[in-house]
């Protein structure tokens, strides 16, 4: 997980419908994966043209313990990677220009790109702030060929925003995503129908989106190192080891897992984490920080009219080991005091009498919108709290930051 100072991590996930692996071989779907190159850093270079062709690193500078959130290709050439501690990045690339993250600008550019894509493709689903899946099935007649379509998309995004994209074209979303990774920077790779197996087979299993380190480890223990080997495994063996996910893994390795793109994205979680300027052992200080994080998450939830059914907490200790848990709470809520009540209870045993803490995080998960049905026994009280937080949020918006602060 990347440590970002002061950033919301809204996990907007594409909804995968259950018929995910039901699409037969030889289906004639065509998906594009459009990925913005070094997005945060590129936006900074556009905002300030003087930074063009210079190594730019976003994130980290406002705290001496931060990490790299994004690096321009000029900086990447020096070996700087995303998630690298700031000090290390500085050592690798002394002339790099460090900039604080400007999430408002990134959101603005992301929206601009979305608008362009929405005009050029019938179905667009945003995967995250800097990547989108496009379903261009049947659009080859409009553009001539898919390559022409990709060139047009690249050209339109560049002309309008100055940002560069890499595009992967394939018969399934995951293969398209892998192709775009290989196409970076500013490239395009098309995996023609029928050659998915050839493209995938030499790659390590973890290269496939959806196969993380845990499943990768289990596959390696079974002697399966590449996607080619995975594709050759008998169905029943995979089923025995991975349950219903087994056949799905195999179809992934064959490049056959397509799913319907759900255009309406849903926010699945809202979280915030922060690194302390120095390692902390005092629970009271951690507790105060937790409260501040929850205040921000709560406000974001209320802004989007969402309620958390589940909350997660994270503690990273000075030695970079991690502890945390995630639990479902009895009633969905977005009230700070209730979220804090649970989070505090979960986090205290992980902090008190343990190692010094480097970072803490809080996530509101399993988000639901408010049930429209009002409750006889609870509505009156919760309406009052709703009004209280609403006024609090308005107040915070009107007053300059830090001019007042709620205490526990």
């Amino acid at each position: 997980m990347i440590e970002k100072n002061s950033s919301f991590q809204c996990d907007k996930k594409l909804q995968i419908r259950p018929r995910a692996c039901a699409v037969a071989a030889g289906s004639h779907r065509t998906f594009f994966h459009v990925d913005l190159d070094a997005f945060f850093a590129s936006v900074e270079q556009i905002k300030n043209p003087k930074l063009k062709n210079k190594p730019v690193i976003v994130g980290g500078r406002n705290s001496r313990r931060g990490v790299v959130a994004a690096a321009s290709y000029e900086a990447k050439r020096f070996g700087v990677t995303t998630g690298m501690p700031w000090q290390q990045a500085k050592a690798k690339c002394p002339e790099a220009i460090f900039l604080p993250a400007d999430f408002e600008a990134y959101a603005h550019y992301s929206e601009k790109v979305q608008n362009i894509l929405n005009e050029m493709a019938p179905v667009v689903a945003q995967g995250s702030v800097d990547e989108s899946y496009l379903d261009l099935t049947g659009c080859e007649r409009i553009y001539g060929t898919f390559r022409r379509a990709a060139e047009k998309i690249y050209g339109a995004v560049f002309a309008d925003t100055g940002l560069k994209v890499s595009i992967g074209i394939a018969g399934s979303q995951s293969v398209a995503k892998m192709a775009s990774t290989f196409a970076k920077p500013s490239g395009m790779i098309e995996v023609p129908k029928g050659s998915e197996k050839k493209f995938l087979s030499p790659l390590p299993v973890e290269a496939m989106p959806g196969i993380g380190s845990k499943i990768g480890e289990r596959l390696r223990q079974m002697g399966i190192l590449t996607l080619g080997q995975l594709a050759a495994m008998p169905q029943n063996l995979l089923r025995a080891s991975f349950g219903i996910y087994g056949p799905f893994l195999k179809s992934k390795a064959l490049g056959k897992d397509t799913w319907e793109l759900e255009v309406t994205e849903t926010i699945k979680s809202v979280g915030k984490q922060e690194t302390f300027p120095e390692d902390i052992s005092d629970w009271q200080i951690v507790r105060q920080k937790l409260f501040e994080l929850i205040e921000k998450v709560g406000r974001k939830l209320r802004e989007d009219n969402l309620y958390a059914r589940r909350i997660g907490i994270l503690v990273r200790y000075a030695d970079f080991t991690v502890a945390g848990l995630s639990k479902t709470i009895p009633e969905p809520t977005h009230f700070d005091r209730i979220l804090f009540g649970y989070a505090e209870k979960f986090m205290q045993p992980l902090v008190e009498g343990r190692k010094p803490v480097r970072l803490i995080g809080f996530t509101a998960q399993d988000l639901v919108s408010k049930p429209p049905q009002l409750d006889l026994f609870q509505t009156a009280k919760s309406e009052r709290w709703e009004r209280f937080y609403k006024s609090l949020d308005t107040l915070k918006q009107k007053l300059p930051a830090r001019s007042f602060r709620a205490t526990i």
């Binding site: 408010k370 429209p372 049905q373 009002l374 509505t379």
Partner: protein, 370 residues
């Protein structure tokens, strides 16, 4: 154990007890019915530990004794037998032989000594209630019982007594948190119930079966944790819900700003039609009220929209409020009135429905946000 009994009598007895047997029980013996032959009768018992039922039927006892056998299996067999004398005989290793005319069956049973003991009356209060009054009261509230396991204290009917103008009255209340139904009746007899009890949903269903087609009085015994209801040769034992019923009196609105009156039949018909386009989950419809006119509308992005107008008696400001159509239809279904009076306040406050016909009926429905 060995008995002889007429097939029809045995079939009736089994039909009464077998329904409480839980198909998914973790204790195998709870799938069984307990048979005990003693002194000219045979007693059939079945329980899922929450609800227990006992039926006593006359039989010719050749040899007293007891046994347990799978309830469904025995019931299915007896149901198919010709209407002649059935002979039930225990065989070694808890087998039960069933003979009738030319049919013979053998069922695998379990040791009757391992069957859980059912509660015995000790302390508590006893009283009688009229069958038809109780049945009517149950039908006016039981549809509002919550099915949400997380709100276990709402998973039943709250039963309590109160005094009204010097007379004892009985109150039955059910709520799922979204609506509440209350039925109140004056009683001719005294009911010494010192505090309210929550009668669980499954027990209510069995109680309704017990009351079906019956007349006269029914006997209640209510203890701290259990209740036993008796009617003739049948007994129903219920484990009461151990929880606090919410202070329901607080949520029954006292003074409502807006009062309108509408034909019950036309409101029911309109709601049925408009509800067709609502989503299965929310069933949300909008009531737009203006002087003399009620417009009911609904829309569902997946299907379409609907709108219907109804004449009403109402003088006052125009307003709109959303409701779950299903909740309204269920409430209207238990009213006998020709005109139904809806008392409302604002779009986040409950709607109160009372009856001219049955003064003891009170129904409250919370609105939906639209």
């Amino acid at each position: 154990m060995e008995i002889k009994i007429e097939r029809n009598i045995l079939n009736d007895g089994l039909a009464w007890v077998q329904s409480v047997v839980d198909r998914k029980t973790t204790m195998p013996i709870l799938s069984n019915v307990h048979l005990e032959a003693k002194g000219g009768t045979i007693t059939l018992t079945a329980t899922d530990l929450e609800v227990g039922v006992i039926g006593t039927i006359k039989a010719e006892i050749i040899q007293p004794g007891k046994i347990t056998v799978p309830a469904r299996g025995l019931y299915e067999i007896v149901k198919e037998l010709p209407n002649q004398i059935v002979q039930l005989k225990a065989a070694p290793n808890h087998w039960l032989e069933i003979k009738c005319a030319k049919s013979q069956f053998k069922l695998v049973g379990l040791d009757a000594n391992e069957y859980p003991a059912l509660p015995k009356k000790s302390g508590g209060q006893e009283f009688n209630l009229e069958v038809d009054v109780l049945m009517e009261m149950i039908q006016k509230v039981d549809f509002a019982i919550s099915t949400d396991e997380a709100r276990y204290n709402l998973n039943g009917i709250f039963l309590e007594t109160g005094a009204k103008e010097g007379k004892t009255c009985l109150k039955l209340v059910a709520t799922d948190g979204h609506r509440l139904s209350l039925s109140e009746r004056e009683l001719k007899t005294k009911v010494p119930l010192t505090q309210g009890v929550i009668f669980p949903r499954k027990g209510v269903a069995e109680l309704k079966r017990l009351l079906e087609d019956k007349e006269g009085d029914i006997h209640f015994w209510v203890g701290d944790k259990q209740a036993i209801v008796e009617k003739e040769e049948r007994q129903l034992m219920v484990r009461l819900i151990d929880g606090q019923f919410p202070p329901y009196n607080h949520v029954i609105p006292q003074k409502q700003k807006r009062v309108l009156s509408v034909s019950r039949e036309s409101l029911t018909q309109s709601l049925r039609r408009v509800a067709v386009v609502t989503t299965d989950r929310s069933r949300g419809v909008k009531f737009s009220v203006s002087p003399g006119l009620l417009e009911i509308s609904a829309n569902n992005p997946d299907l379409g929209e609907a709108k219907e107008e109804l004449p009403i008696q109402y003088k006052g400001a125009t307003f709109a409020v959303g409701f779950n159509a299903a909740y309204f239809l269920e409430a209207l279904g238990v009213l006998e009135d020709e005109q139904v009076v809806l008392q409302l306040n604002d779009e986040v406050s409950p709607c109160l429905i009372q009856s001219e016909f049955d003064r003891g009926f009170t129904h409250v429905i919370m609105p939906m946000r639209l």
